[in-house]
Subunit: 216 residues, 4 copies
Amino acid sequence: MSKKPASRKRPNSWESADLRQEQHEAKRRLILKQAAVLFADRGFHETTIDQIADALHVSKPTIYYYIDSKEELLYDIAHTGLADLNVALSRDQNAALPAIDRLAQFFTMYGRLILSEFGVCLALISDRSLNPQSRRRLRSLKKQFEITVRTILDEGRQDGTICVDDPKMFTFAIFGAFNWAPQWFSNKGPSSTDQVIAAMFEVFRKVASQKSPRGD
Amino acid sequence: MSKKPASRKRPNSWESADLRQEQHEAKRRLILKQAAVLFADRGFHETTIDQIADALHVSKPTIYYYIDSKEELLYDIAHTGLADLNVALSRDQNAALPAIDRLAQFFTMYGRLILSEFGVCLALISDRSLNPQSRRRLRSLKKQFEITVRTILDEGRQDGTICVDDPKMFTFAIFGAFNWAPQWFSNKGPSSTDQVIAAMFEVFRKVASQKSPRGD
Amino acid sequence: MSKKPASRKRPNSWESADLRQEQHEAKRRLILKQAAVLFADRGFHETTIDQIADALHVSKPTIYYYIDSKEELLYDIAHTGLADLNVALSRDQNAALPAIDRLAQFFTMYGRLILSEFGVCLALISDRSLNPQSRRRLRSLKKQFEITVRTILDEGRQDGTICVDDPKMFTFAIFGAFNWAPQWFSNKGPSSTDQVIAAMFEVFRKVASQKSPRGD
Amino acid sequence: MSKKPASRKRPNSWESADLRQEQHEAKRRLILKQAAVLFADRGFHETTIDQIADALHVSKPTIYYYIDSKEELLYDIAHTGLADLNVALSRDQNAALPAIDRLAQFFTMYGRLILSEFGVCLALISDRSLNPQSRRRLRSLKKQFEITVRTILDEGRQDGTICVDDPKMFTFAIFGAFNWAPQWFSNKGPSSTDQVIAAMFEVFRKVASQKSPRGD
DNA sequence: TATGAATGAGTCTTCATTCAT
DNA sequence: AATGAATGAAGACTCATTCAT
């Protein structure tokens, strides 16, 4: 996890220590962000630590002062993205809303993540480059989101706002559709991120919000 | 494209020449297949030519006797997959069928490709490792399938069997859902490939085959 | 041209930066020199980067820290030799001298170059291993020396100190004689480099410094 | 030295055996010639056996039917060139001629060799690629020519037709000048091979055919 | 004789990572 | 906190050469 400046050397005061700590974190985040951008743009293996360092106008060992390995970089990016989404979720999700709206809200946030620098790494970069443990952790986090969605789907059946025949496959489908978005979405295009996210959700809202077509 | 045994000078017999040619192609295909399996399993960069050679019980230069570079391997796998799909498509597509059925048929075949060794490479491996020209060719082939689907969607609107509000986004969604399938599908699971493909299509059939939910 | 320590950000002091820069150049020159010795001794293709590294007691990537490719090594050796000669030439050539003496002076310096580590590469190693551009540059530099000699020959005709019937062929001959010297000269022999150079020039002085034999 | 068709298999008759033998030799010579051309053009290491085979429209193993190794190819080319020169020399050298004319004659023949495919290999390709034995043999053959020239020089001193101050250096010079010729001579230029050879010799004739300039 | 196929033994080059300062 | 220098480990690709037919 790389060395943290454990109040090494003349800790003048708490404040300065805090500042230092903050700065350290800030710089670390900067590295993650730049790395995420490059990974998303060129791929994990196609990006060298040197390129990340160059983009930040620092030297390679400086990167290593903040992170322990390239793998950690990827893991931290993915983990940060997922964690951020969790924070946003627990902050904004309003349990009082109908399930279909909560689903919409979920995928709005998920879409924003997936189309952000950090999220793109989640969708675009295979976790194969990670060690088994990291991979397992990440997958369990992702699984969590699947469960969240499945839960909303269940609740939607109960509150009558959602009706899908095959919740499992629906979940795979909607996640697939969103995860694949970075492959074709470019924010240089005419539609904003949020517009695209909304449009994409509408496709699935149609499925979710009514009776089976053949049930007529 | 690597040297082909151009049946130079005094071919003992047409048969033997053909046989040789056939064997050559057969072996080449074997290499592509094995490479595809390994690429799909471990990733492009995580697979070495040595591993491919080992898996086939031949030496590394033997691989290079049939292919020119690792990149060509990836390109040919993708291209072969796409070409095979095109062949299957033009063989089986029955223009007399209602559009919705043709859509189902298309995605049945597309799903089979995407879940085959060759197709998995299409969905899982970034084309970043390809040179610009190869990448362009592949993308144009893929684009073709999008156009095919968009056309079917249009025709469905006319014959009344398909109704989607946002054909573009619908297309992105369904391709995304299928392209993402290799990420979670394992043929060691209980469902067969075809079952999964069918189930996945049902999700989208529901969207496609009825009036907009809010149109009531 | 390989990364140069571009004295990025907060250089502790000009002195140290300069020192570093100097050391870097010094080490680079050491690599060129060692490579030149080995190239001259065993040939370009018969010398591996590993051997150069071994001879310098460093690891292979260290070589690559200072140079970009084996080809650049060869180019830089040749270029350095040629550049050094140019420097020596513009420093020492005394335009007031009679042409024949300037010719002698030129080939003294040329001989020293051609029998030095760097020059031997010029004469012994084919520029075929170079890319077209580098080859062109080098050839143009060499051509320059030919022109210099042709000019001296012309001036010699005017100041009466040189008389050759066929300046073009004379130029080819004298350059050939000197360029071929590394093939037989060994500084383990009894004669010093300068003695050999002088002796070789005497052969051509005889041609140059009198009327055509058949002109009697 | 590679297998000779030791009248293997049904030696129908002497004639056919001879024919076969002749054909074998003829084909072998063809290979040597083509290899020489390519070596001279691109260099020894830059030429692959495949390229030689391709140029002859045969397969690689066919080359190996006639020669044992790439090294042998180079050795045989050089050796053949040298041997041919020897044959020409002993055929044409007229001991009755004045030494200066015999020298001219020698370098006419030497020049023709050095500018032929075979000779170019002698001058252009380093013998470093040869094993010590082959190298020694070749060098001893070359040495022989030096001795021949030195002998002619001596005889010239006696018959009064040649006068050089430093026979050793003169010999190095003239051989150098000729050996270097392939570096600049192109038979696409305006002058014929023989014209160039003659012109080059004239430069040295001037040195050789008169008293020391400073001896006046 | 001739060839398609196969291979052992390299060689250049890259890159994540560390060391010394 | 930051960097120039150094390196171990690996991987793509080549090529002379051989085998089996």
